[in-house]
Symmetry: D2
Subunit: 304 residues, 4 copies
């Protein structure tokens, strides 16, 4: 269980089958520093272009197509005292006849106080002030897609990508379906905070030091699955939200059947009365919906 | 502030401009007993047909088009020891090529223990058991729609209707846009519990004694707005979910501007980093999305 | 086979179970004059309010729930020398970030030359002129919806309504599912011309004298079906277009199986390689998609 | 204006920045033979795997990002006497509760008679026969996407790809936005016939000899544009159909403004009353909608 430091010498704007920047063993941990979604680093210097420059890829020895890559997000430390957001709702999240009422999509700056664990909007509109608890998360992470594809970090799919789901922070685990030898894990686009849906088109975009563990598991999945201390969840990425929800709901059903050993009727009863849906993003080319269940309700079940 | 008992002599399967079953003054409270979504009463007798038989309408003296009707849900007491659900996910919430894997949409019965505050699935699949906390809510409620329309209780719109949003339970308040003299309030289809999305096509369908207060307010809204002890929320009803979300997001923006006096850029910052979306239902002809914000963040703001 | 003249004394902005303005026998013909979508009559006088004032309803003796009402559109004669349109694309048919580029939704006037069979834009933008062939159609027509509903003429459903499908002109036949005694047929909102999708939110809105035949048939349908000299078609009304298309495609499959006696695999082969889809409207609350097949391909098949 | 023969030595299942199989000058013509969507060649031998193996890429000297690549489809000759289709509608084009009524998605074989210009279903269901006119088209064609992406030939985007639009046959022209040096043109997945929407998931899949001309033009576009002898059209690729239609409609507006010199109000009038929409496919991960106008209506307009 080695620990590695990944210091990027280049970044990527696609997730694809690219040369590994680092190769690790299953179970190893890695620490790396990410730059922000537009390529500004922790010193405020533009070192790459957007969208969402990725660190990696990291190959995990032994990972093969049909496996899953487990990513445990162990720690996230902000490494820049400021982040930025857009000041206006995105055009696609309001009624079409309300679009002309939206203000310009100006950039706003936020102070990030890592010790206090807060973010504060700088230069707010008159009469307004906003300080919120920091809640770090990774906006874009995933593995190389199938068939040798290389796909923009603006979007997402079965392989993960730009899902912008706020629960993907410290303490969370996420599994991706492996499509290529070594899995090839990428990450970046971390946020100090983000509301559901990323409806201004950004979270609070900044730089983080991130530590995570990568492990190979022999479990076949179609869409990403994850867990927090309290919940398990599946992620579907598509448009419209309806289809993203269908993907996530179907994957959760498969998970309950295959790994928890539930009869499909039992899965239906449980999901029907206890499921929660979260909207990861409703801004990117593919939207993201999470289908979530409390782990407490699954305590007694296990497939094997 | 009188208190009324509404004992239905008939039910309705539409929300429309129908003769008032009761007329109250603004601020009055009403207690009524609802039957379940398929028309079974508290004795288990089929007294009406589905979908979602409504109690009402209740006219509120003085309510005029352009006003809003405020409904405070004060108490909900289950009055039947059982409720029912469907055993299978609805076809429209899974991937189209997974539909054939779904089990039959059989009806299942649940024991409702009002004292313990629990619901328990009867005759579960082998090796499975499920007891969950009760969380009463009103599935279908709203006012007469505009233009003399009468619309099925299967669906929803600006006037409310079959929104199946799980936060519409005791302690919640909801405002509807008034379109006709007296507003004409309807309610029914109460659930002992329901997951997000009502993805088996039902909550735990049963009968409740419900007490609520009706008040007229001089505030123009387009979509329903509500609040709980912790949050405010707006509701959009449409398909796909994307459009329901657009309606709810637009209405929240209007609310923050008009009632809380926020600049639209301030509203954008607040919503962008703090908003939560809930999916009410993803089963009915119109889906329902809630756009939600913590009231604590709005403590300092007020339009007037 | 009597012929009737229906001279409206009132109009309706909903399709619902309203008192019949006229009762006819199955097979009778009717001539009536419609006013335009905003309630201007053939003299240019505002006699009713929008949306889409309806003539009717016309009861057809003997029509019962489960039957279908066949409407043959026999003739449409424009009775006002002008029509009007909007000058700009609707906000919802362009990319959300293009909405601010749209011009104001001003009203434009067109000259209608019934003898020449042309429409000509008055006061066009500089350097532009536009004369097009007239192609009359009925924008909104249908029967009373099920369950005593009364639904705005702005939208559409299984009962028909505001479908804005350009093939519903002289020579076309359309069948509606009957939900109430007498069927209760409504019509109005005729256009001298309209492009696919009604993407400026209007066709060329004007007044027509319309002659049609109403007949009751003992055939159960779910969505409207129709035919022209060349094609048969089914109509689905919903959002998004994907769902409207699902409704129309499913209804066509049922039609081919039930009335033409095709095996479902035969229906699949025929539709797969020969189907055409038309977009009726992509502007109203429910969008309309037509699923269409050439009658020549069905010449040899008949269920009974 | 040289003529080239491209004899593939390999095929590709992505459109991406791959080594050119051939480099031509702007204006040159190319003839090549394509294999079918599943990789069977003209001898019925499986020589590659699906989805949609591509010939190419062909680099066009001088093509630069920001240009457009014009592709004139000059001739398509079927080179195999059979093609295949699926026998059942795809699950996603029917109502979710109709999915279980669909037959198995068996493969069916069709006889292709290139001299007669017909296709005939082999072994049809009892009592059914189907011969249709052949109408060759290219299902998947396009250029390397932006940012070094490599995207599956199952889907489509701004760069083209698997659009399955039936008008892309002999005599048609299509322009793609160039994102990389040389443009890198790919093609394959030709059909002897296909209905709108590709609703059985295939056209009549076979092998063709295809001749086309490639030319570089200095015109910036966002989505593919095309023309036939009668019409011009734009193509939008996305889900749901609503968004594909928004892309196509927006691109048509830009085209009318930029190349035909129309005022945006003139463009709105023309499109509003004369536009036609076609559905390319409603089966692939991204759906395709065409926005189409008659060239006759644009005879008098030109930007330059």
């Amino acid at each position: 269980m080695a620990h590695h430091i990944l210091t990027p010498t280049t970044y990527h704007n696609v997730l694809g089958t690219l040369p590994a920047a680092l190769t690790v063993a299953s179970g190893d941990t890695v620490t790396t520093e990410t730059i922000d979604a537009n390529g500004w680093d922790k010193h405020g210097k533009k070192v790459w272009t957007g969208p969402n420059p990725m660190n990696g890829p990291i190959a995990v020895a032994g990972a093969e197509p049909g496996d899953s890559l487990r990513v445990d997000i162990l720690a996230m430390q902000p490494i820049r005292p400021t982040g930025w957001t857009r000041a206006a709702l995105a055009e696609n999240v309001v009624d079409p006849d309300f679009v002309t009422a939206l203000p310009p999509r100006d950039r706003a700056t936020w102070t990030i106080d890592g010790n206090a664990g807060t973010v504060t909007l700088q230069d707010p509109p008159a009469g307004f002030a906003l300080t919120l608890p920091m809640a770090p998360m990774i906006g874009c992470l995933g593995v190389a897609p199938a068939m040798g594809q290389a796909i923009s970090t603006a979007t997402s799919g079965e392989y993960g990508g730009n899902m912008d789901y706020r629960r993907l922070g410290p303490g969370a685990t996420i599994w991706f379906p492996v499509s290529t030898l070594g899995a090839l894990f990428f990450l970046g686009d971390a946020h100090a905070l983000q509301g559901d849906g990323e409806i201004v088109g950004t979270g609070i975009e900044t730089c983080f030091q991130i530590t995570f563990r990568l492990s190979v598991e022999k479990r076949r999945l179609i869409w990403p699955r994850g867990q927090t201390e309290r919940d398990i969840f599946t992620l579907g990425n598509a448009r419209p939200l309806d289809q993203a929800l269908q993907h996530a709901t179907t994957e959760m059903t498969r998970w309950l059947e295959q790994d928890y050993g539930l009869d499909i009727r039992a899965a239906g009863h449980l999901m029907g009365q206890a499921v929660r849906y979260d909207i990861g993003n409703v801004f990117d080319p593919a939207y993201t919906v999470a289908c979530r269940l409390p782990r407490a309700l699954l305590a007694g079940y296990s497939a094997a």
